[in-house]
Symmetry: C2
Subunit: 331 residues, 2 copies
């Protein structure tokens, strides 16, 4: 295994520490619990998220003004234990309540749910929203119902902006759920990924093979096929999304997301195809994000996310934010 | 070859168009010439850069307020022809002169030099700075003297900020040269990269092999060795830099740069090691950048860059910028 690591069993903690050390004035890191929090905590509803590591910059890369107040990492592809989540809630709670943004995986649902119950016993008001944006498959290896993937970044942005405005917990939750209802994603993988603790790829893919709808932990998608030109791949991904949700005559935010080992040049090409297809369908693009936002270790491939926008979501999407992985400047 | 592409011979143009389509309000794209320019052009000295494609987001990802006015891409790993550069100069020249930031590769030196001569014949004042930050080897496959690598991003930032302040061409050039004099980099590769036109890796590396000092086009470095823990790799890279330039008792900007296929988790771990080593050596870190800033297609690996700062460079580094690949918010 060729990875820039020391001890694979310490990789997550060392990565979180390395992230914090890049932003010592803005982030704090709690060793052993792998919690990253904002240093400058507003007197507002707190928004937190987390899940298995290996999807960097998700989640800790979105901690900062206008997005998350804390992120909690578990081991690679494995939910953080409730004690970590409970401690993160304790660190960010300013008495105005905490919204947890959880991706729909059984482990996360269980552990975040358990932490919410513990927090409520301590009279901390906690609400939860669950992201299940991946239209690829109805159920999956680690989820009952759809998986949560890159659309989670939009939910962080919308909920974080609403909280930053000083909205109440119920309003922040409503904004997040409003976003979730309008977000759909689907991905495609060109390679497996290598868990540090395992040291070799989880499975093999042939030299010309891809898988549409593969999950961000390598869970099965809708089947293998031969690699196709970017134009056809973009069309395949977009049609799966449009079949599930009617974006016609809408204004949308678009995310073309890399899974970790795919260079920007290829993501730019995918974006070209996506934008041209959306134009053909008269779906108006309001804002576009191209980059590595929600990855799967060293997996090659990409995902596509659309979020339908109305005036409220536009305002929240445009609101300034300052995090390691997403910065939006004040207009 | 598994790449998100259509026709490999059109990959660069389609990628540049895809980048522009993500920022239609901020960037313009000149088809066939692969020029990306700022839409909102200030009445100021223009700063341009460019070179072979395959290093995205370098160079076009740094076009925007506070950095570049234009970037010109050649084919993959191949210098843009003088007609492209000349056209870019024509597009950005506001009568206050143009600074060209060129990486030290023979093709770039020749083509940018030729374009400068052509521009001067048209009475456009053009100055050039050459980045040669890579301490790995004294000469290289495509360069006489040291290669220019990720430190180029710092030069874009410093020159762009100085130009944005309304400085004269000579002052912008001075600031860029001041930065260049204080920047050193070195990289390490864990894999080859695959040119779209070739379709297979340029060379093979064994499962446990790495190369310190490999160039961003796969040029030889200082030799192969076995993969080592991140701590030792960071130490090796840092010591090569410190042997070349005395950063002791300095304040520095640090860049831990991914080469395209290395996930952020690993770059964060490398940053942890670098920060700890700098602390041990009492070199004070002013600002840190971790991410994919100057890549080599789908090469796995990273590079490390240090820039020694004084008050002027700090001010220029902190100045706000708004580009696809680097945003710095106003304080």
């Amino acid at each position: 295994m060729k990875k820039l690591m020391n001890d694979p069993s310490k990789a997550v903690g060392e990565a979180m520490e390395g992230l914090q050390l890049a932003y010592p004035d803005k982030l704090t890191y709690t060793p052993d619990l792998e919690i990253i929090t904002r240093k400058e905590k507003g007197d507002k509803v707190a928004v937190i998220s987390g899940g298995g590591a290996g999807h960097e910059p998700l989640h800790a890369g979105y901690v900062g003004i206008g997005m998350l107040d804390a992120a909690i990492a578990g081991n690679v592809f494995s939910s953080p234990s409730p004690d970590r989540i409970t401690e993160a809630i304790r660190q960010v709670n300013k008495g105005k309540g905490v919204l947890m943004v959880v991706k729909n995986y059984s482990g996360d649902i269980m552990n975040f749910g358990f932490s919410a119950e513990l927090a409520e016993m301590d009279d901390v008001e906690v609400e939860t929203v669950v992201v299940k944006d991946d239209v690829a498959v109805p159920d999956s290896t680690y989820s009952t119902g759809r998986r949560g993937i890159a659309g989670t970044v939009f939910v962080h942005k919308i909920a974080g902006a609403k909280a930053e405005q000083g909205a109440a917990l119920k309003e922040v939750k409503q904004a997040a759920e409003h976003a979730i209802a309008n977000i759909r994603s689907v991905g495609m993988a060109m390679s497996s990924c290598t868990l540090p603790s395992v040291g070799k790829p989880g499975f093999e893919m042939a030299d010309n093979e891809i898988e549409i709808g593969m999950g961000i932990h390598g869970e099965p998608g809708v089947g293998r096929s031969e690699i196709k030109p970017a134009k056809e791949l973009a069309k395949d991904l977009l049609e799966r999304i449009l079949k599930d949700y009617d974006y016609s005559e809408s204004e949308v935010a678009v995310m073309v997301n890399g899974l970790g080992a795919t260079p920007l040049m290829e993501l730019y090409i995918m974006n070209r195809e996506v934008q041209n297809l959306l134009k053909d369908r008269e779906i108006k693009v309001y804002k576009t994000f191209v980059g590595n936002f929600c990855t799967s270790l060293d997996m090659a491939g990409c995902s596509l996310t659309l979020m339908k926008l109305d005036d409220e979501l536009k305002e929240l999407l445009d609101a300034p934010c300052d995090t390691p992985a997403l910065k939006i400047l004040d207009k």
